[in-house]
């Protein structure tokens, strides 16, 4: 295992010097010009694209998954609990290309006609909603990501919520709290760090997700990819690599893609370490098991 990590790490870093020699402002530049002799590579728009799409995914996905988790643990009758839980797990099993395919041919038009067009007609004056909706944009990609992280976040928060000891619930009820108050003030705050860990793991999944995003985000490059409006094509780090890697000509361009991969790796490492610290701190308290 450790060998695996080390090879992965050293190789990615090993490929970077090539790139560092040329572009010292690789991390903050916005240009992306693969033309031989005039190469300019800047990763900033894609880092921003990644963060914005993942942010949208969390905004939409987390409340939904928390709702699912709370519903399954606290409210659902036994007959409903198993099939719904099973369905959520199946959502996790669907390969991401298939989400991409579905998004590209079907979901995109739903977004365009029922959500984006009305918003841009009535709220178009707000800067983040400016531009002509096209369907292949940041908002669609973020929404697909939200669907994809729901299984992860929901199943972990389900575990966390069911790990809340029953005595807490009973204590809360006995001082006259309503069901809603019990959930809001006791259960959610008791499982706070575990739920936070679940959210971060979901974020990790969203950041690294490649295929569905690369099919839906519209694939802009260069300064055009800076996410200024939700209804604009953009690019994430993962989708940039997936789209451009094979067409890369010249070692410098390949190195640039590998460098973007390195940024992505560092970002996801950071996210995962934070998540594991949060979840394991919770587990030390509970002594329970989270898959």
């Amino acid at each position: 295992m450790i060998i695996l990590l080390i090879t992965g790490y050293t190789l990615t870093t090993g490929s970077v010097p090539v790139l560092q020699r040329f572009g010292s402002n690789f991390f903050f530049g916005t240009a992306w010009n693969p033309v031989e002799g005039r190469e300019l590579f800047g990763a900033l728009p894609y880092v921003m694209g990644t963060l914005v799409t993942s942010g949208i995914a969390l905004l939409i996905g987390v409340p939904l998954s928390l709702g699912i988790a709370i519903f399954l643990v606290e409210m659902a009758p036994r007959a409903l609990r198993v099939p719904v839980g099973y369905l959520v797990e199946l959502l996790a099993a669907v390969p991401s290309v298939i989400y991409g395919l579905w998004g590209l041919f079907i979901f995109r038009y739903w977004m365009l006609h029922y959500i984006e067009t009305p918003i841009s007609t009535y709220l178009g004056w707000i800067p983040i909603f400016s531009g002509t909706p096209f369907g292949l944009d940041i908002f669609t990609a973020g929404t697909i990501l939200a669907i994809m992280i729901i299984p992860t976040v929901a199943s972990i928060s389900k575990e966390v919520i069911s790990a809340v000891p029953n005595s807490i619930r009973e204590g809360a009820y006995s001082i006259g709290a309503t069901k809603w108050e019990v959930i809001r003030y006791w259960i959610l705050s008791y499982g706070r760090s575990g739920i936070f860990g679940a959210v971060i793991l979901g974020l990790g999944r969203a950041v690294g997700e490649t295929m569905a995003v690369s099919m839906l985000i519209g694939n802009a490059t260069g300064p055009a990819a800076i996410p200024t409006s939700l209804f604009k094509p953009s690019q994430t780090m993962a989708s940039l690599i997936a789209n451009g890697f094979l067409e890369a000509t010249g070692s410098l361009e390949v190195a640039a893609y590998i460098g973007v991969g390195l940024i992505l790796l560092l970002l996801s490492l950071l996210i995962n370490v934070v998540a594991h610290v949060m979840v394991s701190r919770l587990l030390k308290v509970k002594g329970g098991a989270i898959e």
């Binding site: 990590l5 099973y86 590209l104 893609y257 996801s268």
Partner: protein
Amino acid sequence: MRGAPQISLNFLTQSTSGGGIGPAIQGTLILIGLTSLIGIPLGILSGVYLAEFGNNKYAATMRTVNDILTEFPSIVVGITVYGVIVIALIGEYSAIAGAIALSFILIPIVARTTEESLKLVPNNVREASLALGVHKWRTTLSVVLPAAKSGLVTGTLLAVARIAGETAPLIMTILGNRYFFQGLTQPMAALPLEIWRDSLQPQVSLQAQGWGAALILILIVLSLNIAVRIASIGRLKK
């Protein structure tokens, strides 16, 4: 979600023969086979180590690293394998590179589930065997592993289902082509790649082919999941 591919069932049945997605199906099956061959033994070995001999600091680090690897962005795995295998070792996009990339994803998952299911084996079973004077490794091999068998099968199947649909690392390892299997060091086709390529084509017929490929892929993944479900139901009944 699931209703969508079903519409294209007709397209699918027509397109599988000649010029269809035959190579892709074959490629995916070969990939699954190769990856299982590389990944499952390694994964189970590391899982066994972590569960049975893993009471020290080194194993604790390994466990953390393993957890992190499970959540790795798959495209980064793709780049790594591109750097190590495709460029340095073989010098070409190849089937074996794809299998190695996928086993990088498979190993941590299998190791994790192996460890979990070995932990479920009650300790008295181990103690009973050790009390009979059986060596520790022998105990692990012929007492603990068989006891955890169904858990192992379930975990492994789930992991295989996960890698069957993995696309991103395949882009820069097996490349994809339109021919049947030509050798381990040659580029190869695979279902997820086929779906990706087809869906970005302007021709409606190719898009339809992508839908068909998607349906097949979903069927493979779902049937693995259902097999797991049935296996675990059987275990609960016992």
